[in-house]
């Protein structure tokens, strides 16, 4: 049986941050971004207490059916160490925020024929591979994958903005 290669994946750069941030605000920013962009979101959450603070592992898996043939998947993995609550005074008002160290990894996957319509027989799989590797090869790599990568970088910038990073900017927005 001929194998159907219907997925293209790419890892987008890692964000490493240490300092003060708003944990709840970050969570909502990521979740709301997925919703705003039309993604269905699945979350997993792990929490562990240590003597230095909490250890949190939060994963968002978003998927969106763009057309009958294309599906976008974006995964956002947030790992936080030494997470503690702190109180700061901003513009004369006391505010409860958080402090900690984190790594955020973003990756995206372009899924073609996600309904497996071309997976019915060896002939249809061969037709799919012909489309995937010959007829639409360039369109898939440059246009479709390029659009998904650009979309993932939008989330990348959104996260940086929420963390108040100095490099929270994108010329493409």
């Amino acid at each position: 049986m001929v194998k159907r290669q219907n997925e293209l994946s790419e890892t987008i750069g890692e964000i490493k941050y240490s300092g003060e941030f708003d944990y709840e605000g970050l969570y909502l920013a990521v979740y709301n971004w997925f919703k705003k962009m039309g993604f269905d979101v699945n979350e997993t959450y792990k929490h562990k207490m240590t003597s230095l603070g909490a250890e949190v592992e939060l994963t968002f898996k978003g998927s969106k059916e763009v057309t009958e043939f294309i599906q976008h998947k974006i995964e956002c993995e947030i790992k936080i160490w030494n997470l503690v609550d702190i109180e700061v005074v901003r513009e004369g008002k006391k505010q409860k925020i958080n402090k900690g160290r984190m790594n955020i990894t973003l990756s995206c996957t372009l899924v073609l024929d996600y309904n497996s319509k071309f997976d019915k027989s060896e002939l249809t799989v061969r037709i799919f591979n012909l489309i995937r590797f010959t007829i639409l090869r360039k369109k898939i790599i440059i246009d479709w994958m390029g659009r998904l990568i650009a979309e993932t970088y939008m989330l990348h910038t959104e996260i940086k903005k929420k963390l108040g990073m100095e490099t929270a900017y994108s010329a493409w927005e």
Binding site: G13, K16, Y17, A150, Y153, E166, A171
Partner: protein, 167 residues
């Protein structure tokens, strides 16, 4: 397998003093868009430390020049001991940082990035011969183009940092 050739290396800019990291990032990002490079940010680090902020960036914007040649610019930025300062520029108060910055630029040419010539040993050998004796003229032309672009970007960054010296 694709092949990578270093065209520009050892181009480093160091600066110590007042500057705005956000504006610097904006200049590099805008430049990439203007020159049709695809944004690739491998790593983006920001740590708030007692001695000041630490920012590190690894960018690898790339652009496909043809079906065979791709330009890659590797930019590594390290900003250390950044301390917040409020300065007055033309009567307006502005938040800036004082610290040390080192930027390293490298220009790479990647050939056969689609690995079209990698299917069979014979074809691969033929590719090596073509690359070495026939395509060489084109590769040199591409290398000159990339060299000019990396120099343009580094000059733009240098000019941006020099501006702060006179404020």
């Amino acid at each position: 397998m694709s092949e990578k050739q270093l065209v520009v290396g050892g181009l480093t800019i160091s600066y110590e003093g007042l500057f705005n990291p956000s504006d610097l990032y904006k200049i590099i990002d805008d430049w990439q868009k203007k020159h049709n490079y695809d944004k690739t940010e491998k790593e983006s680090i920001e740590y708030v430390r007692p001695e000041g902020k630490y920012i590190e960036l690894r960018m690898e914007p790339c652009r496909k020049e043809s079906d065979y040649v791709k330009f890659i610019i590797k930019i590594h930025i390290v900003m250390e001991n950044l301390k917040e300062r409020v300065v007055e520029i033309e009567g307006q108060k502005e938040k800036m940082y004082e610290g040390k910055i080192t930027i390293n630029f490298e220009g790479w040419i990647e050939t056969d990035y689609e690995e079209a010539w990698y299917t069979k040993p014979g074809i691969f050998f033929l590719r090596v011969l073509i690359d070495k004796y026939i395509y060489k003229i084109y590769t040199e032309k591409f290398a000159a183009g990339l060299r000019a672009e990396v120099n343009e970007l580094s000059t733009q960054v240098k000019s941006f940092l020099n501006l702060y010296k006179y404020q």
